[in-house]
Each structure stands twice: as structure tokens, then as C-alpha cells.
């Protein structure tokens, strides 16, 4: 199923992952908290409300990621998600779907990247979500794990 769509502002909601977020054992419940609300809600904090375990065995109680609505910055963002994830998230109606890309902040901010290879797929109606793990390499997939943001004018 193809996902190209108009930019979707992020709204405040609670997510329940069907599988642990990769890298974080036990990470199933998240709160989506937009940095600003309304039409310009491009970025949000994704705060995990579970106590999680890293693969090193370390326990983490405050996992927070920065996520974004990718279509605001990459209007042609279009991925083919698997039937398995569509079924598990009960996404029979594509209008219920939203994608969130995890941002990798850098100093300066202009060096930050977004993970367009493995977005979080969300059912906005139910709050079911999962991070999509492609069955193909980055090159075949067409969107990188560390996508640089487009240059600002004057940079």
C-alpha cells in the first residue's frame, strides 16, 4: 500500500505499539506531545511511559524521542508498507494512517537527520502503532535511515 499524502499536523495522542520499539525492550506505550499544536505541528516529543531495558541490560525510565510529520519537509515521501503491518494495526482505511519519522538531533540543528527508512506507522483512530522495519536495504527502499534536512535559504 502506498502512503503519499498531504502533510498531516501531529496531534496529542497515546500510542500502543504492537511490538517493542527496536532497541528498547518493553517499550510499548508512548505519549505523543506536539511541540506546538495546530496547523504547524511538525514536531512532537514521543515519550515512553514504560520502564524499558536496553540490550546492554541497562534499565531506562525516561525514554524520549523527537518525531516529526515527514510530509511537511519531504512532500514526495511515499513508502510501501507491508500488508502484515496494515493488518496488525487494523488500517483498513488509509485515512486513519499517520507516519512519524524519528529525528536524530545534532549540534548544530542543521546537521540533524530524520529516519525516513523506518518510520513509525500509526492508526490515528485506535492509537495502535509500530515502527516499520523494511524487508529491503536502504538503497532498494529509496529513503535513508539518516535523511539530511533540505538546506535553508542563505545556508
Amino acid at each position: 500500500m502506498k502512503t503519499a499524502r498531504a502533510p498531516l499536523p501531529i496531534t496529542r495522542m497515546d500510542l500502543t505499539f504492537q511490538h517493542d520499539m527496536p532497541g528498547f525492550k518493553g517499550a510499548r506505550h508512548f505519549a505523543v506531545e506536539p511541540l506546538v499544536e495546530g496547523e504547524d505541528a511538525i514536531f512532537a516529543r514521543l515519550r515512553c511511559t514504560d520502564s524499558i531495558q536496553l540490550h546492554s541490560g541497562e534499565i531506562l525510565n525516561d525514554l524520549t524521542l523527537l518525531v516529526m510529520s515527514p510530509e511537511f519537509v519531504w512532500p514526495d515521501y511515499d513508502i510501501k508498507i507491508s500488508d502484515a503491518i496494515i493488518e496488525q494495526l487494523e488500517l483498513s482505511n488509509l485515512d486513519d494512517m499517520a507516519l512519524l519519522a524519528i529525528v536524530h538531533p545534532q549540534d548544530p540543528l542543521s546537521n540533524s537527520t530524520a529516519n525516513l527508512y523506518s518510520p513509525i506507522v500509526v492508526n490515528r483512530r485506535t492509537g495502535f502503532a509500530d515502527q516499520f522495519v523494511p524487508g529491503t536495504s536502504e538503497q532498494e527502499f529509496g529513503w535513508p535511515l539518516r535523511a539530511p534536512f533540505p538546506l535553508d535559504r542563505g545556508e
Partner: protein, 93 residues
């Protein structure tokens, strides 16, 4: 690690309902494996999953967890500028 020797067409059963089949072995050493498993079992290529795990971890480490107002303002303005830079660029095309 348990190591089993199998021939093409032979199967391995894991637990109650996961079946692996050796489909083919090519001369350059590539092995094609068929997997039958319940839908809720996630099947991923390990090297792909490992890269995503690492990127998730690196992104989490680089993300401040506090609700710093300066940080929020910086991101909001960064996002707005990048979105408009992109729009302008696609208008020109």
C-alpha cells in the same frame, strides 16, 4: 548455538508452529530459506533491525528529555524554515 545439517527441501520446526524450509542453495553460497509462522511473529533481517536499533538508541541519546522552552522554539523555527525551503524548491521545479 544449535547447528543442524539440512538438505534442500528439508524442514525445521521451531516450537509449535514455526517451520523453516531450505528452499535452495546456490553455488555462490546464497541460501534461500522459506519461513512459515503465525502472523503476529515478526520476521526481520537481523542486519536491518540492528541498524534501526542503533539509530533509535543514538537518536534517543541525542534527544533532551526536558521541556526546555529554548529548545522547543529552536525546533519549531527550524521545522518551519525547512518546510518552506522545501516548498519553494518544489515550486521552482
Amino acid at each position: 548455538m544449535l547447528t543442524l545439517t539440512r538438505e534442500v527441501g528439508q524442514k525445521i520446526l521451531i516450537g509449535e508452529d514455526i517451520v523453516l524450509t531450505v528452499v535452495s542453495v546456490s553455488s555462490n553460497g546464497r541460501v534461500k530459506i522459506g519461513i512459515e509462522a503465525p502472523k503476529q511473529v515478526r520476521i526481520d533481517r537481523m542486519e536491518v533491525l540492528d541498524r534501526i536499533r542503533q539509530e533509535n538508541l543514538d537518536s534517543a541519546i541525542a534527544t533532551p528529555s526536558s521541556d526546555d522552552a529554548t529548545d522547543v522554539a529552536a525546533w519549531v523555527s527550524f521545522g518551519a524554515r525547512r518546510a518552506s525551503a522545501r516548498m519553494t524548491k518544489s515550486d521552482e521545479n
